[in-house]
Symmetry: C2
Subunit: 315 residues, 2 copies
């Protein structure tokens, strides 16, 4: 009984090793001498989260032949911290009290320190990435897109102006751009050529769109305990999503004066949720098709599996 582990098992071990290094990098870079920044950062990071973005970066890196997890861990940590910074600021603006099943940073430390903690997580991204040369260009563009997406969403809520097109722009900017950066950075770190880098960027972008649609569906239908965050926090936001989803579906638009509950009920009774799920499924199929040009590898298989999990997840 000897020999190497089966390829899929070896891959899982490598990814686990990478994710452990990601956690270590996030802990190290947030080890501020300023207590509240360190404590609040570790609270939100320690509350879990799916680590989708670092996983995507590491798998893209491995799929392109990368084999040094310590080299890829810092950019993977940066991508997760970028997401976490936006989550902390988002919960201030939405008055969220629950995040990842734990109290939100603003609920424990108040708005002022939550704002500063989000800023700190952002500077941590910058510190981690500073030695990585031109990869900063990918992440900087995604960071700007993320803030633009959050702002478009807040504007759409404020002006009660949501439709499918606006919703599409919002999720492309606030979610899919960072997914794309994760895939592209993973590929580039491994020295991938342009066509393969684009393939992984496209895969990741479409996966990000699907991920956000599923997230929004869950936010409408799941109960809070399962979701681990304040659900349907902002009635305007929930309604905006509902309006965007129901456009063109058989149960029509949600009148803007409706309560979120009545919109939810009608959506659950009609086929709106099914149609949204169909869109997410289509995006995932399109994402997987982008991977055709990649050589076969356990990491490529794992990317396909990751995409399928995005559709299947229930929390």
């Amino acid at each position: 009984m000897s020999g190497a582990a089966p390829p899929q098992l070896a891959l899982r071990q490598t990814v686990d090793e990478g994710l452990t290094a990601v956690e270590a990098a996030m802990r190290t870079v947030t080890a501020s001498q300023v207590d509240v920044l360190r404590d609040a950062s570790r609270h939100i990071l320690g509350a879990g989260g799916k680590r989708m973005r670092p996983r995507l970066l590491l798998l893209s890196y491995l799929a392109m032949g990368g084999d040094d997890m310590s080299h890829a861990a810092k950019p993977a940590a940066a991508v997760e911290l970028m997401h976490t910074a936006s989550v902390v600021h988002d919960d201030i603006n939405d008055h969220g009290v629950l995040r990842r099943g734990k109290p939100a940073v603003n609920a424990i430390w108040g708005r002022t320190f939550a704002l500063l903690t989000g800023d700190f997580l952002f500077t941590a991204v910058y510190e981690l990435m500073a030695p990585y040369g031109d990869l900063n260009i990918d992440l900087a563009q995604a960071a700007t897109a993320l803030v633009e997406g959050e702002t478009l969403q807040a504007s759409a809520v404020k002006n009660n102006h949501f439709n499918r097109e606006v919703y599409g722009r919002i999720i492309a900017l606030k979610t899919a751009a960072l997914f794309r950066a994760a895939g592209a950075i993973g590929a580039k770190l491994a020295g991938a050529a342009q066509p393969e880098t684009s393939a992984l960027a496209d895969f990741s972008f479409n996966l990000g769109l699907a991920f956000q649609i599923v997230d929004d569906i869950l936010d409408l239908v799941a109960d809070e305990a399962k979701l681990g965050k304040t659900s349907g926090i902002d009635i305007g936001q929930g309604r905006g999503f509902a309006v965007a989803l129901s456009e063109g579906s058989s149960n029509g638009n949600a009148p803007p004066s409706d309560s979120l509950d009545s919109i939810k009920r009608r959506m659950l009774e009609g086929d709106t949720i099914d149609k949204a799920r169909d869109r997410a499924n289509l995006l995932v199929r399109s994402a997987i098709a982008s991977l055709d040009i990649l050589p076969h590898s356990p990491a490529k298989e794992a990317l396909v599996e990751l995409a399928q999990q995005v559709i299947a997840r229930e929390s």
Copy 2:
């Protein structure tokens, strides 16, 4: 009548050209398709400001023989945008309504959009700097220090725990670190050797400390119209500064229960302000001494002049 302009005049033209390029870079990078981000960014940038940090970066660059203003303008713009991002977030936390003589971003667009505008200005920093390789390390460290300094200040206000040492740490982190980065980045952009880079970093750091002390004095004694921002916004913050300044001075500590007005009155009657000015003067002399190792040049003279203006300014 022919020949080159006198060196000091030629320098002033070069610096003006550089500062014009800085303004252009800031406008370009904030040209978001998202209206509120573009409008709020341009509002705060258009409200003026002394442009101390970009000026410092450009003069450091010129003093080390740099001669391509278009190369130095983007990092100089990034340093100013970093400062501006922190100002926008600061005004949210302090409920500031006036900044640079105009309404604060939060006063016009509200807290949610002000928070996102600050985030956006920060991602603009990141975008501008991304192509500048290892210079990102200098700016990233300064960015983290800035947020740590703001957080220490908010903690000290909240816990009413201010003394001279805490005050010293706060201004080193929240102000002097970014000044140092400006000097160091300017020097490195021009290919300066390590001793000259350190000299300009030290000069800039001490200048930053002096600048903040003078700023805090003006915040206590100047009237709002002259200052162009909400003065003594946070009574705890004003008191903290007063306590820090008055420690060891002849009129003793300010009791924590005093009103800001009575602290101000006592400070103006005693020699506290004079002692604080003495400290700022000493820091500026020390800063100027750091420049001894630099070759003589009009830019070096202009740095000395800039340092003297920091002491002399009245708003």
